[in-house]
Symmetry: C6
Subunit: 89 residues, 6 copies
């Protein structure tokens, strides 16, 4: 299966990076479901034009972010982050 | 990617500020999805006029707030907050 | 921004009060989204008449309550509550 | 506000009772939203006849139960339950 | 009220059994809501034929499973399971 | 009941494998509900063609992943993983 967790780690340096990871994980998840034996839709998903879908997508990001934030102990302690940071690459 | 977590921290002084952060994170998340390769809709989202969408949006805020509240140990102990407060900026 | 967390605390004396806080937080959240740059709808939201919306609203209350309950250690220990009760005001 | 948490406690003797509490809390929550300034609908909600609404209602019960189960440490240790059981009455 | 948690325990031997319990709990929950004062629908729910409802039902199972998995400390430690296994029968 | 948790364990080596497990669990869950006494739909679910369903499916994956990630302590500590890895086979 293709890459589902960029960097193969949930540990990030900052909340901002954690949020970006959450968005990427949600996107890759949608892509993994979409490509499974189906014809990939030409062009991009149109959910970005539909308020309903936008809020649903934001909901998924919020759930993914909850996991990433817990993984990083909510970025409370800077020293902890140094020891667990995700591999660059 | 644009700023997704204002102040780049989940730590806030009070539940009120935590709630405001949750609302902002939800908004920035919607904006990050919306602007990704799509034409930004002229004007604002109309979800504020639709009861269905309002409740869905409130749901996302509740999920974001759960993460922010956990990050702040639910603002139980005032002394803890002083040591972890988010950088002003 | 207007008041989003009544009393600016998640700590309550009892589960009943915690539940009331969860309902209030959900309501204030909807109001904060609704009033943001939009014309406030005349009259009240009609979701109370629609079974679909009622269940969705109850879902949001359940999510808010999960946070409030965790903040209060589920009101397990009465002595804990005395030390952390939310300021009256 | 009317009673929202039967017995004003999340502590129950067994998972079965915890589940019943979760269902009751969801029902009382719907009622609290519904009666707030609105005319109570004659008769009962029709969601029990609609598969969509049934699954949505079951979802709310699952979320409420997660909170009740956490409050009871998942009923893992019988001795713990004896010390924290909810007041009868 | 009828049986809502089979075996009246959240403790299972394995993740597989935990998953089966989650599915059963979701089903019994739907049944408890459905039978409450309403005429039971002849035949079975048709949600199994509708992709929308199937995903919604899978969502409920995921939420129930999160609770069951937490109850069992995610089945990490085999020795723990021996001490807390749910009563047979 | 058929296999619901591949390998009958929530422990995985990496976040990538944890994500794959979450997707598989969601799929098997849908299949378990679908086949229960109903005629299996000819062909595959069409949700992969519908943006709404895709986001809903991604939501389920996010919830399943939250459980898998918690089970693995978010893959923070490599040495922990060696002791708890899921049985191959």
């Amino acid at each position: 299966m293709e890459e589902l967790v960029p960097g193969n780690s949930l540990i990030t340096e900052t909340p901002q990076e954690g949020r970006e990871l959450a968005i990427l994980m949600a996107r890759k998840s949608i892509r993994a479901i979409q490509t499974d034996g189906e014809v990939l839709k030409a062009g991009r998903l149109k959910y970005a034009e539909d308020p309903d879908r936008l809020i649903d997508a934001a909901h998924v990001v919020a759930v993914e972010f909850a996991t990433v934030a817990a993984a990083n102990h909510y970025w409370r302690d800077p020293s902890w982050k140094r020891d667990h940071r995700r591999p660059t690459g």
